[in-house]
Symmetry: C2
DNA sequence: TTATGTGAACGCATTCACAGCC
DNA sequence: GGCTGTGAATGCGTTCACATAA
């Protein structure tokens, strides 16, 4: 398949949310114009985004809400369940473990890890925190697909390496460091301080 | 000033981090090539990013590490302190309240708010949680610059409106909804579930 | 020589505009 | 007539390449 821009993928996620809203409101059909209005974009953008993956609409009519939803789920890979582990049970890791938004989208947390002896064995939302060293052993039965890294910066690469060795194929990194992963592993970074800096820039340089 | 791309601002934040590293290592001078190597980009990109704001280097030599640091801090608006409130003291809000990465960059938390009576009055990291309704009163003395919104989706617009009325000029939104804010207010969204969906897409559609 | 700063070239994402189909 | 799907045009961010300065 042709390369798809990250911005396109983000919008597809949004479209899916809007479709769920429209479905909840009982709408059977939606036009690219209506979908665009909901998401502050343009109808041409919506149609172009979808056109990368096929022709899902009916000319003169629009898109079937449930069908387009199904298509987007398939495109985004949300028809299956994704097994997620969180490594690092500090405040942020624990907060993510409780976050219901993940489960709602088919991301199932299957393990929580930390190397702090004071935390190992404690329970977080029905899970017992285990040592990061146990990751490989736990994965032997059925590996996780995605690891969320919420350890301190200094431990992030090591945690990542352990996750990759355990068979994880995607890394979501909250540590403020640039991780290196082998080529086939997908990596995404979330850096809250940098987001705030972006705001600071916008406020300092208005317009 | 000409409009600066968001991608450029992100890279400037990264450059600043790298410069701090280089300074800690005692380097006095750095070339665009070295800075680029540190951040997986190109020297031309580094020079172009900086050129939007002036000429900070010496031809044949490179950039003075401390001077470029200072310039970047000024550009990003990090020479001043930013007053931040967090609205929503659930797990994620509380985790952010403890997050040291903010303070390190000059973002000072000046208030924590929630509307849950069970939470109001409780302490989080030296702050007493106050009712969101108190926001305007607290701001009367000295308003906050930035509000971090970590309330549930259904309450996010209301919390945002209260923050804007209280004089906040930047909103960092963690709720999975699209907020509307008056034009001069800067808005950034962080949506963890969407980040995971991006990973799911990458794993489903490799290459 | 070495490395910056920048106009020009390039490539990619967005927008336009209309042919095609319902 | 209405709305999709898509080549073509546009705009914008990145890369190139070189004049310029230390």
């Amino acid at each position: 398949m042709k390369h798809i821009a990250e911005s396109t993928v983000r919008r597809l996620s949004l479209y899916l949310r809007y479709l769920e809203e429209f479905e909840a409101r009982g709408l059977a059909t939606i036009s690219s114009t209506e979908l665009a209005a909901r998401g502050r974009t343009t109808s041409a953008q919506v149609r172009k985004d979808l056109s990368f993956f096929g022709s899902f609409g009916k000319r003169g009519l629009g898109y079937s809400v449930p069908e387009l939803e199904k298509r987007l789920r398939r495109i985004l890979g949300l028809e299956r369940e994704w097994r997620v582990v969180i490594i690092g049970m500090g405040k942020i890791g624990a907060a993510l473990a409780y976050y219901s938004g993940f489960r709602q989208r088919g991301f199932r947390i299957v393990g929580l890890y930390d190397d702090d002896p004071a935390k190992i064995g404690r329970k977080v939302d029905s899970f017992t925190i285990r040592a990061a060293a146990d990751l490989a052993r736990d994965a032997a039965k059925q590996p996780a697909d995605i690891a969320v890294i919420t350890v301190p910066a200094g431990a992030a690469q090591q945690a990542t390496d352990a996750a990759v060795r355990a068979g994880v194929r995607g890394i979501m990194n909250f540590a403020p460091v640039q991780l290196s992963v082998p080529a086939p592993v997908a990596l995404r970074n979330v850096n809250m301080a940098m987001e705030l800096e972006g705001l600071a820039f916008a406020l300092t340089n208005p317009g």
